[in-house]
Symmetry: C2
Subunit: 141 residues, 2 copies
DNA sequence: TTTGATGCAAACGGTTTGCACTTAT
DNA sequence: ATAAGTGCAAACCGTTTGCATCAAA
C-alpha cells in the first residue's frame, strides 16, 4: 500500500483514497482494463467514487509516465497497462482477450538495434499481434 | 477510374459516385487520413456528400478487406490506409505525422517465422513505432 | 421497377469540462 | 488556511442510426 502512495507522490500527485484505489486496482490486474473496468471494480469498495475521477486519474498517470495507455482499444474504449517494461500485445480475434507477449525482441529486431529507420529516430515500439489465442485455438479443434 | 469501380464491384458494393470518390481519394493519398480528412477533400468535388456516407463507405471497405483501419488514432479519430501489403507505421511525437515503414521484418522477426507465440496463433502483426521523424529531428538540431 | 445507397438530423457512447463542495497538507 | 482533488451533470466529439428520398441495376 505504501508503495502505491509513494508512486503517486513521486509523480507529484496527491495520494487521495480514490487515486490509491485506482492505481492499486490497475496494478493488481493483468487484463488491460478500460476506465469503466477499473471503475466497476473500484466502486465496490468506494461507492462514492465517480467515473470522472477514474478517467482523470488514469489520464494523469499516463501523462506522468506511471502507467501506459495502449494503442489498441477494447470495443472503442481506451485500455491501460500498469506494466511499462517493453512488451507487446496479442489480441484474440475470437474472444477479444489481450495477452501480454514478452519476447527477446531487442535481440532480434533490426529496428530496435539500429535505433532508427528511414532516418526516423525510433524511441519505442509496440507490436500488436492478431490471431487466435491458445484457448480459442483448442476450442476450434 | 475503372480500376476503382472494379474494386468496389469485386467487394459487392454498388459503385456510386460517392463511393468512387471516397476510395479514389484514399488510394491517392498516403497520409493515413481520418474520415473527416477524406470528407474534407471529397466534399470539394461533391458538395452534397454527407459525412455519414463517408463513414459508411470507409467502414464497409474495411469490413470487406479492401482497405484497413489502423490501430492508432489521430487525435482520437480512426485513420485509414488503402495499402494492405504488410507494413508498419511510425508516429512522430513532435508533428504527429504517420509514416509507412517497409522493412524485411519477415526475415528477422522470430514471431512471424514461428507463426505462433506462447501457444497463440499469430495471423498478423502491426508494429507501431514512436519517436522523432527525420524532419523534426533535423529541426531540433 | 426495385433494391440498395444517400443525406439529414437525431441518437449514441466514451471522454472531458465547469463548478460548487470536500479533502490532504 | 489553502491549494488541489472530487462528484455531479452537462457538454463534447467522433461515430452510428432511422428514415424519407434518390439512384444504379
Amino acid at each position: 500500500m505504501n508503495k502505491i502512495i509513494e508512486r503517486l507522490r513521486n509523480r507529484g500527485l496527491k495520494p487521495t483514497s480514490q487515486r490509491i484505489a485506482v492505481l492499486k486496482n490497475l496494478t493488481e490486474r493483468r487484463d488491460h482494463p478500460t476506465a469503466s473496468d477499473v471503475y466497476n471494480d473500484v466502486v465496490k469498495k468506494y461507492p462514492t467514487i465517480s467515473k470522472a475521477t477514474v478517467y482523470s486519474t488514469l489520464k494523469l498517470l499516463s501523462e506522468k509516465g506511471e502507467i501506459q495507455e495502449l494503442s489498441i482499444r477494447k470495443m472503442g474504449e481506451a485500455c491501460f497497462d500498469s506494466i511499462l517494461e517493453l512488451h507487446h500485445h496479442f489480441l484474440c480475434r475470437e474472444c477479444g482477450k489481450i495477452i501480454d507477449i514478452y519476447t527477446n525482441c531487442r535481440n532480434n529486431c533490426v529496428i530496435i538495434k539500429a535505433g532508427e529507420i528511414d532516418g526516423n529516430i525510433v524511441e519505442e515500439i509496440q507490436a500488436y499481434m492478431y490471431g487466435l489465442c491458445s484457448d480459442c485455438a483448442k476450442k476450434n479443434n
